[in-house]
Amino acid sequence: MSLLAVKQVYKDFNGLEVLTGVDLDVRAKKRHAIIGPNGAGKTTLFNIISGRFKASRGYIAFKDNNIGSLSPHARNRLGMCRSFQITNVFHNLSVFVNVQAGVRCSQGLRYNLFKRPENMRAVNRRTEAILEKIGLIDERDIPAGELSYGQQRALEIGITLSTDPELILMDEPTAGMTREETEQAIDLIDVATADRTLLIIEHDMNVIFSLADTISVLHHGTILASDTPEAIRNDQRVKDAYLGEDD
């Protein structure tokens, strides 16, 4: 079944048309990648799906709810969570608190004026489990801002997992990583998104082909092709788009 359906989404910024009728169908429990040359509108599409921007026109459905007018937090509570291309963490707070924030939120303990976070056993167990998974359990008390770049990227993934989303949106999770870090990140994403749905933007073709079940190519603000990795690899239009525009 389809978990996320994007239909004829348009977006322009003061006349600059970035998306011109995007259609996307993300199936439940599948890994779906979006690729495309720089400036094709991939991050804008993510911003529209996650609620940072409103689409100029079009329809977005998540689990059969029309979410086009919902705010980011409301979309999150329906079961989607996104990561950011540029690391976006809580710098002066500990790694533990960074992850705990989302876990706490997903359990409805957002604005509680009586309970103390350190006494929330279930929340903290889950937080620790996520920290184990992303390999930051030993760094739990360090402020997020003091982590290395690779660790911050891992934390970024950890925060995204923290609200226990059905749909995970990842915007270039391996951007700026070394070869080795990228390998680790792929393994991490592989484990972390088992049994969930993943929508991922990537430039790194290794990442794409080792993870994705379906690939959509976004070009000039519209989806050029959507198919299995094998089919995309051999698609002439995709080759033209990439060879014509990117080096």
Binding site: S50, G51, R52, S71, P72, H73, A74, N76, R77, C81, R82, F84, N88, V89, F90, H91, N92, L93, V97, Q100, A101, G102, R104, C105, S106, L109, R110, Y111, N112, L113, F114, K115, R116, P117, M120, I159, S162, T163
Partner: protein
């Protein structure tokens, strides 16, 4: 002894010292201490906004003033209002005011937030100034403190020490409530807001709700401090709701330090004692207060509590390295 129990012991000792002080010092000093406690609570609420929430408000005095005027108006126009009713009404009304003003300010951040809080403060000031029939305008309102009838025992609030103890117990409980607030889930959420309001929304937090809760919470406790201000001075005028009152709380909070919960407590003591000392020599003591403030902004932005914390760290480091030196020989 763990660090945590050490801190608890220090706080309890501090409270006991304050409780014992009336036996050791004169009336004048007791009055000063009462004032310090009132402004300590006011400062603590301001620091929840500035230090914890990262929201620079130039209008916190509106809540202090609303609390102060609620007390003043109740005590002058409704005869026989009991003490507890004054306190509860002031608390409730400022909570309402905080909620209303806060809901108008949900979308503004940073500099526009600072500006609009200033504008709201000026608006409330103008109301207090012009609405002579109720607020007494420039002349203010003089009130009598009601005694507290406990049924078996009546507390004579006209007595300086008795009023001091009432203030100590009620306001320290309020300060404790503020401290507990910083430890709760909501307190943690406030820190997230300071650090990265944008990201919070994507992990499911409604930042408008978070801001509104924080704003209302700080407003009603500031209003409580305001009510005690009126009760303490037995007088309320436009001073209580003026921008100068905001300036005072901003100065004392910043001088005390915004990085620690105890900052405003130190700041209040520092500010009130320094004001008391300087005003003996010159009418222009605010000038020196401003000078200290500017020097702090430039050279010690952590305030007094920051200086204490970093010198404690420095001493610990030195102690440790000298120990290591001994082991080495």
């Amino acid at each position: 002894m763990t660090k945590r129990t050490a801190i608890t012991v220090a706080w309890v000792a501090c409270f006991l010292l304050f409780a014992a002080l009336p036996f050791l010092i004169g009336r004048y000093q007791i009055n000063l201490l009462t004032e310090i406690i009132i402004f300590a609570l006011f400062g603590v609420t301001y620091n929840l906004l500035l230090g914890y929430g990262g929201m620079l408000s130039f209008g916190h005095a509106m809540f202090f003033g609303i609390g102060a005027y609620t007390a003043g108006i109740l005590l002058t126009s409704v005869t026989g209002t009991p003490f507890w009713a004054v306190v509860v009404c002031a608390f409730g009304l400022t909570a309402l005011a905080g909620f209303l003003v806060g809901s108008l300010l949900l979308k503004v951040k940073g500099t526009p937030f600072a500006l609009l809080t200033l504008a709201f403060n000026s608006l409330f000031f103008a109301i207090a100034f012009k609405w002579y029939a109720v607020t007494g305008g420039d002349d203010g309102l003089s009130v009598k403190r009601p005694n507290i009838d406990l049924g078996f025992w009546t507390l004579n609030t006209s007595d300086v020490s008795t009023f001091y103890y009432i203030t100590l117990v009620v306001l320290c409980a309020a300060i404790l409530a503020c401290w507990y607030f910083t430890r709760t889930a909501m307190g943690q959420t406030v820190l997230l807001m300071r650090e990265n309001e944008n990201r919070m929304q994507f992990i499911g937090y409604n930042t408008a709700v978070s801001r509104l809760i924080l704003f209302t919470f700080t407003a009603c406790f500031a209003g409580l401090a305001g009510a005690f201000y009126t009760l303490h001075f037995r007088f309320v005028s436009v001073d209580a709701i003026s921008v100068n009152m905001t300036t005072m709380v901003l100065l004392l909070t910043f001088i005390g330090g915004t990085g620690h919960f105890a900052g405003p407590l130190l700041g209040s003591a520092f500010y009130i004692y320094l004001q008391d000392y300087l005003s003996e020599y010159t009418d222009r003591w605010p000038f020196f207060m401003g000078l200290i403030f500017i020097v702090m902004v430039m050279y010690a932005p952590g305030g007094v509590s920051g200086i204490i914390a970093s010198s404690a760290n420095w001493l610990r480091e030195r102690f440790r390295s000298s120990n290591r030196g001994i082991e080495g020989t």
